[in-house]
């Protein structure tokens, strides 16, 4: 994972008034990054570490306190106009469930005490199927989590092997069942398609297994071989074939067919839910340009047109907070035109799309004629991708933005 370039963040993390203005009136989310994993998967380029001990404040045992220190800083930065309440919390990683459940609970309590958690807040944690069991899931539910997102990736053992995943083929679906047993109404299974060696049948079986697990949300992501990963090295050495875009397109169409047949509807390019209530609100917050604070090393935040990101290494992160300095590494203040570009770039990924008003008519007409935009939505004043358009979403964005 590479962090972007930006201007420096002041030591106290202060935000310009223009970003804070109106923050209290907008929705607010909190992301918590947990940078620990039991082992590293070959395709993963997230900011995560397999050592349990990365220095003072950056060990599995002390990490929650470091996060709580950043939370206190967040409160200070937003002091004059704190958000009315926190609508969504998303704990991701890494493997959040490597932290003791009590620590996850303490972080959640801290968020509630600091900013106030909305009564209907969506509180998600990611989990690896092999790192949860009925008891830990019950404890998470009791701590206030409302949603679990499980990294299933595939139901095919040979695909899981290529991805270096440690769980067995049936474990993810079983964990989903356990989560529902534990009282989670909202459970997501993450799938990855286009892994080298994966056949169309493999992916069909994975989709069927996810649907049969009774979850209300499925995410399906195309495998991307990121530079610097073990998988990239294997591809470079010719040990693995590079993923093929045409295959990925076919898999995506298979996902849409299987999931819609099972009663799921797409609400974002890579996300399907059985109902409106099943949609991940935290995820939607990102795509709708909402405010959130990202806690943890390498975490990204956005408040009122300012995007910033924290230092990457957990030890540096902890040391900064211990010294009373913001862990922010860099930030950018979006210009009006950048904000506009982002609205289109992000909004176009959603089933709700973006308003027609303000978009250049020539490109819109051409995209309609090419079958990349939905004509009935257009007639209702929205620019929404068709199924083929979803596969070419970035091309659509470029067309809308460059003319």
């Amino acid at each position: 994972m590479r962090l972007p370039e930006g201007e420096p963040v002041p030591d106290d993390g202060a935000l310009p008034a223009v970003a804070r203005a109106g923050a209290g009136a907008r929705g607010f989310g909190i992301y918590v990054h947990v940078p620990f994993c039991a082992s590293r998967c070959g395709y993963c380029d997230f900011n995560t570490y397999t050592a349990a001990e990365l220095g003072p404040g950056a060990a599995v045992g002390s990490y929650a306190d470091t996060v709580l220190a950043e939370l206190a800083l967040a409160r200070q930065v937003l002091d004059d106009r704190p958000p009315a309440r926190v609508d969504t919390v998303f704990v991701g990683g890494g493997t959040p469930t490597l932290l003791p459940t009590d620590d996850l609970a303490r972080i959640l309590d801290g968020i509630d005490t600091t900013f106030g958690l909305a009564a209907d807040a969506e509180v998600t944690t990611e989990a690896n199927p092999e790192s949860v069991d009925p008891a830990s899931l019950k404890a998470l539910r009791a701590a206030g989590f409302t949603r679990v997102s499980l990294g299933m990736q595939s139901a095919a053992p040979h695909v899981l092997a290529v991805l270096d995943r440690r769980h067995t083929a049936g474990r993810a679906a079983a964990a989903a069942g356990e989560a529902r047993e534990a009282g989670f109404d909202h459970v997501n299974l993450d799938l990855i398609y286009g892994t080298p060696g994966e056949t169309a049948d493999d992916f069909a079986a994975s989709l069927a297994a996810a649907v049969d697990a009774g979850v209300d949300h499925v995410s399906a992501y195309a495998l991307i071989v990121e530079d610097g990963t073990a998988m990239a090295a294997r591809v470079r050495r010719g040990e693995l074939p590079a993923p093929d875009d045409d295959v990925a397109a076919a898999r995506y169409l298979a996902a849409e067919a299987a999931l819609s047949a099972a009663g799921f509807g797409w609400y974002e390019v890579s996300n399907w839910a059985r109902s409106t209530a099943g949609r991940c609100r935290h995820n939607l917050l990102y795509w709708r340009g909402g405010d959130w604070w990202g806690l943890g090393p390498g975490a990204h935040s956005h408040v009122g047109g300012v995007r910033w990101w924290n230092v990457k290494h957990p030890a540096t992160y902890a040391a900064r907070l211990a010294a009373g300095v913001s862990p922010g590494l860099g930030r950018e203040m979006l210009t009006a035109s950048q904000r506009r570009d982002e609205e289109i770039m992000l909004g176009i990924r959603l089933a709700e799309g973006v308003p027609v008003a303000g978009l250049p008519s020539g490109p819109v007409d051409r995209l309609l004629a090419d079958g990349l935009l939905d004509r009935s939505a257009y007639e209702r004043g929205r620019v929404v991708l068709t199924l083929r358009g979803r596969l070419l979403g970035d091309a659509v964005t470029r067309t809308l933005l460059t003319e």
Binding site: P4, D45, A250, A299, R307, D370, T397, L401
Partner: protein, 624 residues
């Protein structure tokens, strides 16, 4: 001459002052050499030995002015330098361009001389272009002093190449002088030999002045500097001079000699070589080969041999950044001041935007102009594949000169004529088969073949010029391990079965790729460009057919499959900045795309596809 050596320096030079030197003391000579056979280095030694350049001011290739000349070791524009020798004589060395593109300029330089030094690398032997210039000099009845250079090299074989020169010139091998421009060995005897062998100029000092222009250059500070050789009469400062071809009259601001920096003189008399400055800003006012006279007592008859420079090769030059178009126009206007042979007119390409159709003497000329535009004017350019000038007759009786394939007439063609050249190739005898192969596959017909020595062969062909400008030279070099050399000269035109091949993207003609080729080769051209484009043009979100067509008949096709997936699956950890920056880069990239209909073609695709068919020009530089 020990007696003279004791005399004071000023007294010795008094006898040979510019404007006051008796023609019998003058020796005008040039050096004929291939581009890397050491002419400039030899000239450096002569400058030092005659004392016109002091050792401490010496730099390599003193006479080569342009950076490109010095870097590539080739002389583009000729020069003349006046060197007093032993107090009794004046040697005017007229430096000739060493490349086939500038044959006309060479012929004018030769016309300004009474003798020539034939300089041949003792490790390589004579090259085809040198031989062509040698023949040119022999036709002008110039005495030729054969000289083997670089005898200091371990690889030098002076005996072998002396035999070869003796065979070519009908002389005794022992007549060949042996020198090293690098060490200076043999240069002094060479200068004495020039005095001995080169005749003094002969002219009528009382006749109306006539001087031949053998070069003119544009200097930012001084305007056009015209190099002349006086044949008859005398030219003096403050006179008005007249050009016989244009009848234009100019005030003479300065007259002088180069020794080796410009030095004003009280005039130039019979047989002398020097420069004129008139303050004129355009070299077209001062054309190579033209005759200069004085308006107070003008000559009426021009010296023989003047020709208008005629472009042989055309290419479109387009700025990569369309907003550089005015800068390109200004740069061409500036270069034109110094290059009477460069012609250009605005051209609009649907694929490449606004640019200029430019005419050149040959490929080296094209390459030099392009390089100067890029280097001196900081322009990034795309050039289209070079083409020759065609004469097309239609059934309706009309006739069209075609310098741009995209302007090929659309009516029914009765006949097409293309320029033909006489090409001479010198090659080691081992490679004769390969050379014949290449020439025959390019529609050459063999005129004759001679053994210069046991292992060197001269092959003479007539060939279409178009075949030579299309990667011929590179082929020749690579198939003979670099040993073959080439010279060619225009030799009229011939009717040929030529067709225009168009390349279409999604049904739209991409004008930059249209080419006029022989019917037998049209398929190969179409297939190769279509295949190249298929690889170079990124997949679009719709299918893009690529076709090559002659008229309405499709002769080759390829297909760029539609891209099916172009969307990032997710934003890692909310890193929207990264995604937006990627998009911003793509937006920038899109701006550099050229649109052909709806197809986005990256600039790089044009450059790659065009440069791949433009390799001939690469071979024309140093070490050619």
């Amino acid at each position: 001459m020990p007696a003279i050596a004791d005399e004071p320096r000023a007294a010795r030079e008094g006898a040979v002052d510019p404007g006051a030197t008796d023609p019998t003391q003058i020796r005008n000579f040039c050096i004929i050499a291939h581009i890397d056979h050491g002419k400039s280095t030899l000239a450096d030694r002569m400058l030092q030995l005659t004392g016109v350049v002091e050792a401490r001011r010496m730099r390599d290739q003193y006479l080569d002015r342009m950076d490109i000349e010095r870097e590539r070791g080739i002389t583009i524009k000729s020069q003349a330098v006046r060197m007093p020798w032993r107090g009794t004589h004046v040697l005017n060395m007229i430096d000739t361009p060493g490349h086939v593109d500038f044959t006309y300029e060479v012929s004018r330089s030769l016309a300004a001389c009474e003798g020539a030094v034939l300089l041949v690398d003792a490790a390589q032997g004579i090259e085809a272009q040198t031989m062509a210039n040698l023949y040119l000099a022999m036709e002008n009845d110039l005495p030729i002093i054969p000289v083997l250079n670089k005898i200091d090299l371990p690889a030098a074989q002076p005996d072998k190449y002396a035999e070869e020169l003796a065979h070519l010139m009908g002389i005794d091998p022992s007549d060949c002088l042996r020198v090293s421009g690098k060490t200076g060995a043999g240069v002094e005897p060479l200068l004495d030999e020039i005095v001995r062998r080169v005749p003094a100029p002969v002219g009528d000092a009382e006749a109306p002045a006539r001087a031949m222009i053998f070069d003119s250059i544009y200097d930012v500070y001084r305007g056009v500097v015209t190099y002349v050789r006086v044949v008859d009469g005398r030219i003096e400062p403050r006179e008005h001079i007249r050009m016989l071809s244009t009848r234009a009259t100019h005030e003479l601001l300065e007259i002088g000699v180069i020794s080796p920096e410009p030095t004003p003189s009280p005039g130039l008399g019979v047989g002398e070589v020097g420069y004129l400055m008139t303050g004129v800003k355009d070299v077209r006012q001062s054309r190579v080969g033209d005759t200069v006279t004085i308006s107070s007592r003008p000559a009426t008859e021009a010296l023989p041999g003047y020709q208008d420079p005629k472009p042989m090769v055309y290419s479109g030059l387009f700025p990569i950044d369309g907003s550089d178009y005015p800068a390109l126009r200004d740069a061409l206007d500036r270069l034109k001041l110094n290059d009477a042979a460069l012609v250009y007119e605005p051209e609009t390409s649907t694929a490449l935007g606004f640019g200029f159709r430019c005419g050149f003497l040959g490929l080296l000329h094209l390459e030099i102009v392009r390089e100067r535009l890029e280097r001196e004017f900081d322009l990034d350019l795309i050039s289209t594949a070079p083409n020759v000038v065609y004469r097309v007759q239609l059934d309706d009786g009309s006739e069209h000169e075609v310098t741009n394939p995209s302007e090929y007439p659309t009516g029914k063609v009765a006949a097409v004529y293309e320029p033909v050249v006489k090409a001479t190739v010198l090659t080691p005898s081992d490679h004769v088969g390969a050379v014949m192969d290449i020439c025959q596959s390019r529609r050459g017909s063999l005129l004759g073949m001679d053994y210069l020595s046991a292992d060197r062969v001269e092959l003479r062909y007539t060939m279409p010029l178009a075949e030579i400008i299309y990667d011929f030279f590179d082929q020749l070099k690579s198939r003979t391990r670099g040993y073959a050399s080439l010279d060619y000269e225009p030799s009229g035109e011939q009717a040929a079965d030529l067709v225009k091949v168009d390349i279409l993207l999604q049904g739209e003609v991409v004008d930059a790729f249209s080419a006029i080729v022989h019917r037998d080769k049209s398929h190969k051209y179409g297939v190769s460009i279509a295949e190249k484009l298929r690889q170079l043009i990124p997949r679009q979100h719709f299918e893009v057919p690529i076709q090559a067509a002659v008229g309405n008949r499709v002769i080759a096709r390829e297909n760029i499959r539609a891209i099916r997936k172009d969307v990032l699956a997710k934003c890692y950890g909310g890193d929207i900045t990264r995604k937006r920056k990627l998009l911003e880069r793509q937006k920038e990239g899109k701006k550099r795309m050229k649109m052909v209909g709806r197809v986005e073609v990256p600039q790089e695709a044009f450059i790659a596809a065009l440069s791949a068919s433009d390799t001939a020009s690469k071979g024309s530089g140093k070490k050619a």
